[in-house]
């Protein structure tokens, strides 16, 4: 399967963390990343977002139906993120929109089997896929792109 982990774009400050909205720069970041994804994703993919407004607004840039998953809210564990994505057994592509350090902990676990907190910039995308080679399950990092590289 293809698993795309997408960190929400730049957001405004707000006392209520879950209600923070994207800044105008953040909306542009989300739009650029969405265009990049739409040119590369298969025509059918699942889109799952954290309930936080900044994540939901980022996901909306793709223009496809969004499944909101409460377990992806800020503070999500790698286990929750991996379960929400259906990794590694889902068919096709799954896009997860979430937060740091949650997504960075998830990639550290999937790629390095470690408990690191890898850096992921706002609006950046990590594209992973899995395959079996010589009987071993492998994780392939296919792309890591941040808004400044799109």
């Amino acid at each position: 399967m293809d698993l795309i982990l997408w960190r929400h774009a730049e957001a405004e400050e707000h006392a209520d963390d879950l209600r923070r909205r994207l800044t105008s720069k953040g909306r542009k970041q989300a739009q650029h990343a969405a265009e990049w994804l739409l040119q590369r994703l298969p025509s059918r993919f699942a889109l799952i977002s954290s309930p936080a407004v900044r994540a939901h607004q980022t996901a909306q840039a793709l223009g496809t139906p969004i499944k909101v998953e409460q377990s992806l809210a800020p503070g999500a564990t790698p286990k929750a993120i991996i379960a929400a994505a259906g990794w590694p057994d889902s068919k096709g592509a799954v896009v997860i929109v979430g937060h740091q350090p949650d997504l960075g902990r998830t990639v550290a676990q999937l790629v390095a089997a470690g408990d690191g907190r890898w850096s992921i910039k706002k609006g950046a995308i990590w594209w992973l896929s899995n395959r079996v080679r010589d009987g071993d399950a492998q994780v392939v990092v296919r792309a890591v792109v941040s808004p400044d590289l799109l």
Partner: protein, 142 residues
């Protein structure tokens, strides 16, 4: 330091491993990646390549490389890091698997592991170990 690990593009089979040439698909992959790198690199960088023909051809899509014998297939992590550390600024290493994937695992996660690096893909690492993964891109996703 910034280190860009670039695996040679798709190559023909051949009895002499060092003489294997890129396929037309590989040449296209190398050109596309060189174009992406040009768009994102600052003006100054150092381009190092394994002496294998497929690595030389890949690197040449970007610029004339400095050939480093120690980057030939089977290069150790230490050989890759030593070759890069002789230069300042951004260093691009055009080499092979599993060598580049081992170097990435060591630099990013401090691990002895074989990370998969696709043919023609780049892994752009930034900072001292543990390095941050700044970008990864495979030719099919350009």
């Amino acid at each position: 330091m910034e280190l860009i690990l670039w695996r040679h593009a798709d190559a023909e089979d051949g009895a002499d491993d060092m003489a294997r040439r890129l396929t037309p698909k590989g040449e296209q992959q190398a050109r596309a990646m060189a174009q992406w790198l040009r768009a994102h690199l600052p003006g100054q960088y150092t381009l190092l390549a394994s002496p294998a023909v497929r690595a030389q051809q890949t690197a040449s899509a970007l610029a004339t490389p400095i050939t480093e014998r120690t980057l030939a297939p089977g290069a150790s992590v230490a050989a890759i890091v030593n070759a890069a550390e002789k230069h300042r600024g951004i260093v691009i290493v055009v080499g092979h698997q599993p060598d580049l994937g081992r170097a990435a695992a060591q630099l990013v996660a401090g691990a002895r592991a074989e990370w998969s690096v696709e043919k023609g893909a780049v892994w752009w690492l930034a900072g001292e170990a543990p390095a941050r993964i700044k970008a990864v891109i495979a030719p099919e996703l350009l």
